[in-house]
Amino acid sequence: MASSSKTEQKKMLILKSSEEEEFEIEESIAVQSGTIKNMVEDDFTLIPLPNVDTETLIKIIKYMKKHGEKTKSNEKDIEEFDKEFVKKSFTELKELVLAANYLHITSLIDLLCQAFADRIKNKSVKAIREIFGIPNDFTPEEEAEVYEQHKWAHEEGKEHIDHSAY
């Protein structure tokens, strides 16, 4: 991936966040995003991203830069980076996964979905509603019915259930 010629200019792109802040990034790294790749093929060099705020864009650029230098030898290093990368609050993770989805960065979507799954699997039903901002739209009778259907799941392993929404 490294350029052998010092005089060769790497094509740079400018990504613009929803707050109008601009970030320069090498095209070869930015095209990890399917959305950006399509726009580059349509000859864009200034890429407006109205769905991604500045903070999230900075994190995404950091991810793409790290994964842009992926080789056979630094796999462990990248794994460590990914592990640290997902140590964020649920709010931040939600922003990230929405942005990654919009930008079509498959590896990041997978990483974030897995991080979500790992973090929420032991949560209680109430905690899930809080984390995702989901209102309970069941009537008490309906909820009781759904609970009964898989009662054993609610009863077994009760001690493992985590009620915090963080």
Binding site: N51, T91, K94, E95, V97, L98, N101, I109, D110, C113, Q114, F116, A117, I120, K121, N122, V125, I128, R129, F132, G133, I134, P135, N136, D137, F138, E142, E143, V146, Y147, Q149, H150, W152, A153, H154, E156, G157
Partner: protein, 409 residues
Amino acid sequence: MFLPRFISDQDINEKNVLTSLFCPIKAATDHLQEEILMGILSRLPMWSLFRFKCVSSIWKTLISDSYFTVKHLNRTKNDQGSQKLLITQMCFREEIFPMYCCPLSPAQLVDENVQKLKLDCPSNPKLTVRCKILCLYDGLAVIRVTDTFDHDLSTVLLWNPSTRESMVLPPTEFSDQPREYYFGLGYDSTSGEYKILRIYQDFNPFCRHRVKLPNEILTLTSGYCWRRIVEYPRHGICSLVWAMNFLAFIHATFHWIDISSNHFVVVSFSISNEVYGEMPLSEEILSLLMPGHCSIGVCVLGGMLYVHSSISVLHDKTMFFKFWVMKAYSVEESWMPLLTVDSSCFVDVKLKYMFPHGEVLYLFRALELSGSAFWTRNVGPFRLWPQCDNTGSVYAYTESLISPKSLTY
């Protein structure tokens, strides 16, 4: 009606079935699009999925959706964490026959305290019953539940041990004698249906007047009933009751061992066009295994067909257990010897599972019912299952959400 399998993640974006069910758009942070939600949900363990049905009606619909079931299964098939062992135990003295499931991973098999979940036999809990697993595929099991006190009272059910849901299968007009049939469960991708095959095996080779009962197939679709199928043309008399587990299903075909011209062959039966075939065994296998002097069966591990056999050396009272793998499907020359176990203290050795890195898990059963242990080539024994009269059977399965009732809806 089951949707076709192997739908890629890209196809989800084109599927608008669920959009109409969504609440009015809230703030972007609170409203995760359905494809992202599906991506998260499909990575959750079963236990979490069942509980999260209570979160909201949308989550309930998503988790119950047949499309999601397929997506979830495609993921669990390749996920080591979703592989489980199903174990039946037979405590004759106490007259109880418990069933357990436990995780199947090298690390956890070594752990003395591995969590074993007791499973209730799907039937009237007031009755004392025994469960025999007839076959397993895609996380679904065909089981026979027999009353402990009246062995003639038995029902055959389709059961999902992960969801605990079961459904009674229709009776057949022919004999339901438990011991005379072998079952296989497989998926026909041409028609998008699961099918159960049952093959009649004559247990008494010396009784020539015995009426041979037909083989039958059951398609799990609405209005389902057992349908008689054409006989295997060169059916020999084959009494191999101890060898077979259930019919091996691979490459959309069922396989079992039969005798043709006084030597063993692998009979195949394709699930979609219901055609019989024969696959030869290698010279080496045939020279070692003669009808009448051994037991033999086929099974599937890690996408390949295996032959397992036990040969008793009478004068010695020892047994040899030999295994072969067919490296390239239907290529006679590709049968490779896997392992030979020579032992006087084991009464049975079976292949149970193949780990992603290629390591095969064997189950050894010791003499005098003193227990069973798992071994692999490099490490063993893993565990001796809790003392009980006998470990009935052990099978590996994948967790799945497939609902037996929805198949015949």
